[in-house]
Symmetry: C2
Subunit: 522 residues, 2 copies
């Protein structure tokens, strides 16, 4: 059937997954929610005796002790990003035991997780559920349909929603802990592999049947500060290294110096100013790219000029927002993911740099998550279409490049969600009649800013009105598309097979789109 | 039937409550636990629109909006202790609305809550569940059988266990918030009514159907640091005052100067030293009384002398433990309750002074709570008996004086649990053939230290052995009783009616004893 984003979702997929299809960005809200009845276990103690130690000697022992077996779902968090070494170590230990058909439910997977490709081929991994994924061999393997089961792309808010509701049931959560004690109290700010916050793992610790802390920094009790606490942790295991913190930060973490991108950033800041969003008490979130940071920089300049103090910046935190906090441009940072070492240090040292859970950040089934309070959201996109639908999962050639991240969460919540992108990338126009994959529905996306000009979602007549008498180059989105199509040197119209390799869940758990295997092999 | 603590639990009570009877301190451990499937609600948002405000104008509006009605269970936390003004304000608002038959499930109630007595008489309150209660009019009213239903006395660890399991279902949690923002992010450390931690309320915020933050200090978003976060909070209401922080600290908070009590304290410290519990990495918890603090002081002296560094001190935290932390005698404090302004300030300023949830502290149905790691626990008692059973709920005259607190939690977990008390109190010997009410089973209590000497639980032959060649006056507990009985100027053998006014739950939720209405009216 055709869903509310205009995408064909085959009946077979609906039947197989048991999921509903997307029916509108704000359609499944305002409801009473029952949370999943999770498991715990009471520890046997005896007077005068030490309770059984949680500290096991190896991942092999962990796997034996927890009874990890064929078909189970294991989860991971991704705060070590491309430096993570826990996913590979755990999965290799599982593979060595001859265990098969594992469902890997990771908040994120990166290029460093290439060894999973072979495990997919070998039948060790049958399914992947993920909210962030890097381009690379693993993403290509999924694109090529190597997984036995559908990959599931969830948003950062959709993941805790799915776990809390029981839709995504985790048998064993492996939590990388840069600092941990023998009881399983842990934090992300101390130790050689400090990654800042452990936010995405909080929900795993709460709802997984069994929870294992994997650490390379076993400290004396009590680990301080306690970020995830002992009563949720079954076992602790020490490994030589949980990862390389240098892999946390990659890509640009400074404002762009490219003149075209700077122009886009400046236009965006002016747009936000003219529409009244740069105001006392404002809040803001951007991604970590060079243009996004340049937008933050340009907004910061206007804030300084007008002596405006914002409320908070949120999401993945870069050094740039740390500096803005220090300068007093924001009153607080709400952090689900530290993007660089400056952010990690700030989280450790500055009480105004606060951790938040993924639920607090973006879970739509809560009594109010943070994205609902966002004024300004700067969105990335691999493609956008004339209906303002945004794609971040696939490229125009159909290959998987990323996952939903917080894109559709923040777009839904923010007062103004602005897609900031070059119109022409690698010779192609990324503004299309229809995106290859819909991740963020157009009804939640307010503005497109690119080097050719600005397009405002026709649903936002209020913004149109405010921009009427400004110098900003506001155009119809179709006019911008014409210019892009004119100047593009390459047109990509990939052919797809009938094979569906993954589903994209909207944050509420409905299917907003499917990912088809392209004819071309990647 | 007779339970494992030797107490007669009438069949009618077992049938009416549907509970099991106490079968041994370590009997219901080592089991798999299913947690209660709690409720949430998804907030309706719309693009560009502010979500509906959580901030309501009055408690009356709160009560209307949440649909609070006859028979419901409302919960409170007790960190403002005898300075609390939220319980009375909320219950008065409920009474004004004509709502009846409320179950008040408070982590603690104090003398300041005397107005509840009239509400019991008026039928506004039908039942009270409590973990801490002060002597006074309310405790007397319960003793006199004024409640329509049985009062339930739970331990600090039993309460989160009962809430997590669904045995204690809370319709509405009212959380006193010394610092709160309009979204419901809150903490206990800032504001004119700062009380330190909000530990006992965490489980209420997690499991209550509806959660209301009651604050006298509404701060700009985001409240910093966030202790309980917004996605768990339905409504926020501002009142003039949530309480008087001067009521937090009462009774002695310094070491006793009474020579007899100092002697008890010194004997206790020597006992702990001779039995090897004062050692590198040790942990310790005491109550807030003058003798308890004197024990901490005496232990501190031995630690200094022997250059011993402990691991942690826990529980309700007084200035005395704050000083020990500062001095480096402990590596950290794990706090469920600040007992004075010095502790509150320490929690605000010192990262090593950490908050813990009641579950992390003492919930037996978790993957390992802190009391399991306690080396030394100094227990209070209103009575103890020759089988080492401890009473903290009733006096020897049958009147309710307190509730379980952490007494049976810590006794069960600690390597050595020592009851420290004067043998003769108000002319009576508090060492009896059988305590009036069993709260903490004798099998978990290791030693009694009083001014007449020391009695070791016969189950602890290892301790006996270690004390054999010391100067400490170790005696059979029955010998000590003889001395006490000889010197007592008063004997109390109160008569009880058949009416049962309350049950004492062991930390695992089984009935360890019942509280009967005395013939004498209080």
């Amino acid at each position: 059937m055709i869903n509310a984003a205009g995408r064909e979702i085959p009946d077979q997929i609906i039947r197989d997954t048991g999921k509903e299809v997307f029916s509108g960005a704000y359609d499944n809200l305002g409801r009473e929610i029952k949370k999943f009845s999770s498991k715990s276990r009471s520890v046997q103690i005896r007077k005068g005796a030490q309770p059984e130690s949680k500290l096991l000697s190896s991942l092999d022992e962990v796997i034996d002790r927890i009874g990890l077996k064929d078909g189970m779902t294991v989860s991971f968090h991704h705060h070590m990003r491309n430096g993570d070494e826990v996913v590979n170590q755990v999965m290799e230990a599982i593979a060595r035991k001859g265990i098969r058909n594992i469902h890997v439910a990771a908040s994120g997977l990166f290029r460093c997780h290439e060894p999973l490709v072979q495990m997919i081929e070998d039948g060790v991994i049958r399914k992947i559920t993920v909210s962030t994924i890097s381009p690379g061999p693993l993403a290509k393997a999924i694109t090529n349909g190597k997984l036995k089961e559908l990959a599931v792309f969830m948003s950062h808010g959709g993941r805790p929603r799915a776990i809390e509701s029981g839709e995504l049931h985790i048998d064993v959560a492996f939590i990388s802990a840069p600092c941990c004690d023998v009881q399983g109290n842990m934090n992300g700010v101390c130790g050689k592999s400090a990654c800042g916050v452990l936010s995405y793992a909080y929900v795993d610790a709460e709802y997984a049947d069994q929870v294992v802390a994997v650490t390379d920094n076993l400290v004396e009790f009590p680990a301080c500060p306690i970020e995830i606490s002992q009563e949720k942790v079954d076992y602790v295991v020490q490994v030589e290294r949980i990862g390389n913190p240098e892999g946390i930060s990659f890509g640009p973490t400074k404002p762009t110096t490219d003149p075209e991108n700077l122009k886009i950033a400046d236009m965006t800041a002016q747009l936000l100013d003219e529409t009244g969003y740069i105001k006392e008490g404002m809040s803001m979130q951007t991604g970590a790219g060079g243009t996004s940071i340049a937008v933050a920089a340009a907004v910061g300049n206007i804030m300084r000029e007008k002596k405006i103090t914002g409320s908070f910046a949120s999401g993945g935190i870069t050094s740039y927002f740390v500096e803005m906090l220090k300068e007093g441009l924001f009153k607080g940072l709400l952090d689900v993911q530290c993007f660089d070492s400056v952010a990690i240090e700030s989280r450790r040292e500055n009480p105004k740099h606060m951790a938040m859970s993924a639920s607090q950040y973006a879970n739509p089934n809560t009594k109010g998550c943070l994205v609902n309070q966002l004024d300004i959201m700067i969105l990335g996109a691999t493609e956008i279409d004339v209906n303002f639908n945004v794609n971040v999962v696939t490229g125009s050639n159909g290959v998987i490049l990323s996952s939903s991240g917080g894109n559709n969460d923040c777009a839904a919540g923010a007062k103004i969600a602005v897609v900031v992108t070059n119109l022409i990338k690698r010779g192609m126009c990324v503004l299309r009649d229809a995106v290859t994959t819909v991740v963020t529905p157009g009804e939640t996306v307010d503005v497109l800013v690119c080097e050719y000009g600005i397009a405002v979602n026709p649903g936002r007549k209020d913004l149109m009105e405010k921009l009427k008498n400004t110098s900003l180059p506001v155009m119809d989105i179709r006019e911008i598309k014409k210019l892009g199509d004119r100047d593009a040197v390459k047109v990509m119209n990939p052919e797809f097979t009938d094979k569906i390799v993954g589903i994209v869940e909207y944050r509420d758990g409905t299917i907003i789109d499917v990912v088809r295997k392209p004819v071309q092999e990647f």
